[in-house]
Amino acid sequence: MIAELVTRLRYRYVPDHVVGELLGRKWVDNAIPVFLLVAVTAYMAVAIPNFLTLGSVVDTSRQIGEFGLIVIGMAIVMLAGGIDLSVGSNFALANFVALALINIAKWPTEAAIVATIAVGALVGLINGVLIGYLRLRAFLTTLVTLTFIRAVVEFLLQIYSVQIASSDVSSDLMDFVGDGSVLGVPLSLVVLIVIAIVAHIIMTRLRIGWHIAAVGGSRRAAYNAGIPVRRTVCLSYVVSGVLTGLAGVLYAARLSGVGPDTGVGLELTVATAALLGGNSFGGGRGSIGKALMGAVIVSVLINGLVRLGVQTGASAMVVGLVLLLAIAIDVRWGKWRKNLQSKVYVSPGYLALPPCPPFDLAASSPYAMNDRLGDAEIIGLGEIDGPEDIILDMDDNIYCSGRQGDIVRFLAPDYARHEVFAHVGGRPLGMAFDKDDRLLVCIAGMGLYGVDKRRNIQKLTAETNRTPLSVIDDSRMRLADDLDIAPDGTVYFSEATIRYGFEEWVVDSLEGRGNGRIIRYDPATGATRTIVRNLLFANGMCMAHDNKSVLFAETWGCTVKRLWLEGPKAGRTESVISDLPGLPDNINRGSRGDYWVAISGLRTPAYDLAMTEPAFRKRMALRVAGDEWLFPNVNAGCVARFDDTGRVFETLWDLHGKSHTAINSMREHRGYLYVSGVTNNRLGRVKLPDADPQWTGPGSYWGARQ
């Protein structure tokens, strides 16, 4: 008992499901860089006194400004699937050009800055033409550019370095660029922030940004989609060149010196930063934010190492090791995450069901098996595929929701002819008629739709308010299941689970957790609100005869409950039938002030036991092939008639499973009961001896037609 209690509490309060949900979110990619950033900063703050003082931070941030710009450029190139190694010498060239134009050519500072950026862009353009248009290998091409520009810079330095060093030109603007601050923030950092924001908007919100990511993600797919691949690739190098030129200007302004060491090895550091932030070498995955994070980590690391007094060689070694780490993470992370997520996403809960009422042939309970559906009249055998719900209109036509996204109509009076009433797509499930004879239908994967008499299909709602603090985005409906309509037109419908789609509902049964909910749609305002959460596969919905409450089925809980809509208990739920022998599905009104519920599958003792063993089910999901999973017995079922107090009067079974092994829905209509099943290829009807032969569903809701 104690062990049982511990298990129950452990599965109630430890949110296993969150881990898998977290791993499913894109932003979790940033977890490693954020962790590294915090770890590196914390270590440095402890190891180096004054590391976090204002002066120190300002000093570091000036360097981050220059460095970050180049990393952003690199990230954009990487996002497009390339790499730009030439940034090291391009940076040196920009530094030289800026100083040479101001000090030797005496150009006005503004013009010099523009010209420097233009030179950077030119180098980028050369890379871009070679790689984008001539389709040379990015790595080798930019390696050549790196060496070549480096040679050019050294050649120029031999001629001009003395002249630059001895020049006495001074420029206020240049001083401001080098040392100035805006509101206390160093200018280079301000530039970085502005550029980062602009770049972020471009990359995430504008067409060209999407093009770049698309080209990096799949060059061929991007080409097939009509994206100008060559131009896009070329452009990414130009952007990298421009940002490198700008960084060169900032550097020139800060140090006003030229030397052969400028930018040596920078390409490696920049690539390390971009990778470490989480930008993929393969292209297609990355962001400006990731680039910034990587830039800060690497800057803090290098600065810290310098101030720790680590020798230059050792510092380079650390950067090399970090690069290796980043490459390893880049290669493995995506795969790890998916593997891990697939292992941890399914998170079964503890579910102890009440004792199962007996339903064998001799049982004295109303559930005792019989063969009242065995001789049901068969309708549309082989003409339909998996009718989940069935409904009849005032003219006695039958509508059923089929697997192929069709609502099929069988025409009265003999139902020999049928037609596709509407092709709505998705997986249509529960249906209901509103007061204008419009057919409202819940469609798994789509939401709540309406089909009017002229067969116009219209989306009513597909989104609801998101659950606060929910990791997965549950605003979008994944498995709208059944609905019913209040007299004022308000629609109450169930979403079976927020964690799985229709084709995966089996996995939800394995979880046995409260993943379902009830949603209210108000046609007057168009507002959609979730009103009840954490239901065990919210399924059938039915307005009570007095319209003061709505009945709903919790399939895994084997219960029928009631949600009060008005009166003293409004908003509260209470149990109506708490111990069904199986899994309740759709609920609909009957003619005698009663209700019908379809029991779409039966509990089995082995299944009931497994529901109290979450760890067993979790391992089963991991180890055992899906076809072999333990399953509720959906090869048998029945329909049950009950009243508002939860008293069950009778059940109808197909004892030998000839026609209706599992039944998912039923409707009473003019003295007959019509049944349908989601794994069946037919509909059926039986005469109900004591039912009101005039009673119809739409009439019960909207009154007899004039």
Partner: protein, 360 residues
């Protein structure tokens, strides 16, 4: 073994915790030959076949029937259910009852009864040995033959093989610690035993020296009785299929113990001779009927399978009754005059089919 390795294996589902299953392929490629075999007689739970001077006889509950005279009166009836049957070289039959007694019908020892002994309480198979002795398979030390499902789910390996002298009743244990021996075939100086829960055939030497050795392992189903044909090929009945989920439950000790304690044996996650008898029996996802049909490839708790092995005990062909078939739970088969006679205990049918030219 190494407890750390066991823990890691259990966590990762490999090694002993692996539940991979031999596929129904090669010689075990599915067909519907058992289903297409013409029935000879229908009788409740036909269990074991043997050849005697009365022709082919079959045991059904407490009686022996002649297969050749279907519908006739029983040849013999007993006060307990028959658990095993063997035709003896002298034309008589040895009948093992579920309470452990062995009764001889016809032949040299006709009418003699060997009383039950505490060592042999679960007779599952009998076979004549050289020198007039009788080989007896005792399936389990703790469960009777009707409780075989419990024996499997308890992961027992307490079965034994005995040699009994009909004249004196003296008995000698030939081997112990067997995982439910369910079939016997005497050879010149050894006996081959089918160990159901190991899904294997094992050779046990009759002499004092020598060790038992595996003959055939990794069968896709639980083997039961087997017999040798005139052409020296061997016919092996396999009475229930192995299932991943069962193997998994066998490794989940907590769930398994609770299931044994709290759930009725008919509703266990375990193989059986005929599935689908009760809506309370567990279902597997692949076993959902679609359009009112159970697909033949769906996983089921019962199956019909007879394998033909060459003289080296390698499978060469098989006859099947698949998930949707009606010849499940074959516990015995005999080749007689070019036809294979088999009894599907789960479906209460004795049938026969020609096996000429049968190969995978």
């Amino acid at each position: 073994m190494n407890p750390l390795k066991n823990a890691v294996d259990r966590w990762l589902g490999r090694g002993d915790a692996s539940i991979s299953m031999p596929p129904m392929d090669g010689a075990f490629r599915p067909n519907d030959l058992l289903d297409s075999a013409p029935p000879i007689m229908e009788t409740p739970a036909p269990d074991c076949l043997a050849v005697t001077t009365q022709g082919v006889v079959v045991s059904s509950e407490r009686s022996l029937f002649s297969v050749d005279k279907a519908g006739g009166a029983p040849l013999a009836s007993f006060d307990a259910e028959i658990a095993a049957l063997a035709g003896l070289p002298d034309g008589g039959a040895a009948v093992g009852l579920i309470d452990g007694r062995i009764v001889f019908v016809g032949g040299e020892h006709g009418g003699k009864t060997i009383e039950a002994s505490p060592d042999v309480t679960c007779i599952t198979a009998l076979a004549p040995a050289q020198g007039g002795a009788l080989l007896v398979a005792n399936g389990s030390a703790s469960n009777g033959p009707t409780a075989w499902k419990r024996d499997l789910m308890e992961k027992n390996a307490s079965g034994s093989v005995w040699r009994i002298e009909p004249a004196s009743g003296a008995r000698k244990q030939l081997a112990g610690n067997l995982a439910y021996p369910y079939g016997l075939l005497g050879e010149a100086d050894s006996v081959v035993v089918s160990e159901s829960w190991r899904s294997a055939l094992t050779r046990i030497p009759l002499g004092a020296s020598g060790r038992s050795e595996p003959v055939l392992e990794n069968l896709p189903a639980y083997p039961s009785r087997f017999s040798r044909g005139a052409d020296n090929t061997i016919w092996l009945a396999l009475f229930a299929p192995r299932r991943q989920l069962v193997e998994f439950v066998l490794r989940e000790d907590r769930y398994r113990r609770r299931m044994i304690a709290e759930v009725g044996a008919d509703y266990w996650i375990a193989p059986c001779l005929r599935a689908g008898q009760s809506p309370l029996a567990p279902t597997q996802q692949g076993g959902v009927t679609q359009f009112g049909m159970l697909k033949p490839w769906s996983p089921s708790w019962s199956y019909g399978l007879v394998a033909r092995l060459d003289r080296g005990y390698r499978p060469i062909a098989s006859l099947h009754s698949r998930a949707n078939g009606r010849r499940h739970g074959v516990t015995s088969c005999l080749p007689v005059d070019g036809r294979l006679v088999f009894c599907a205990k789960g479906d209460g049918v004795v049938a026969s089919c020609a096996y000429e030219g049968l190969a995978s």
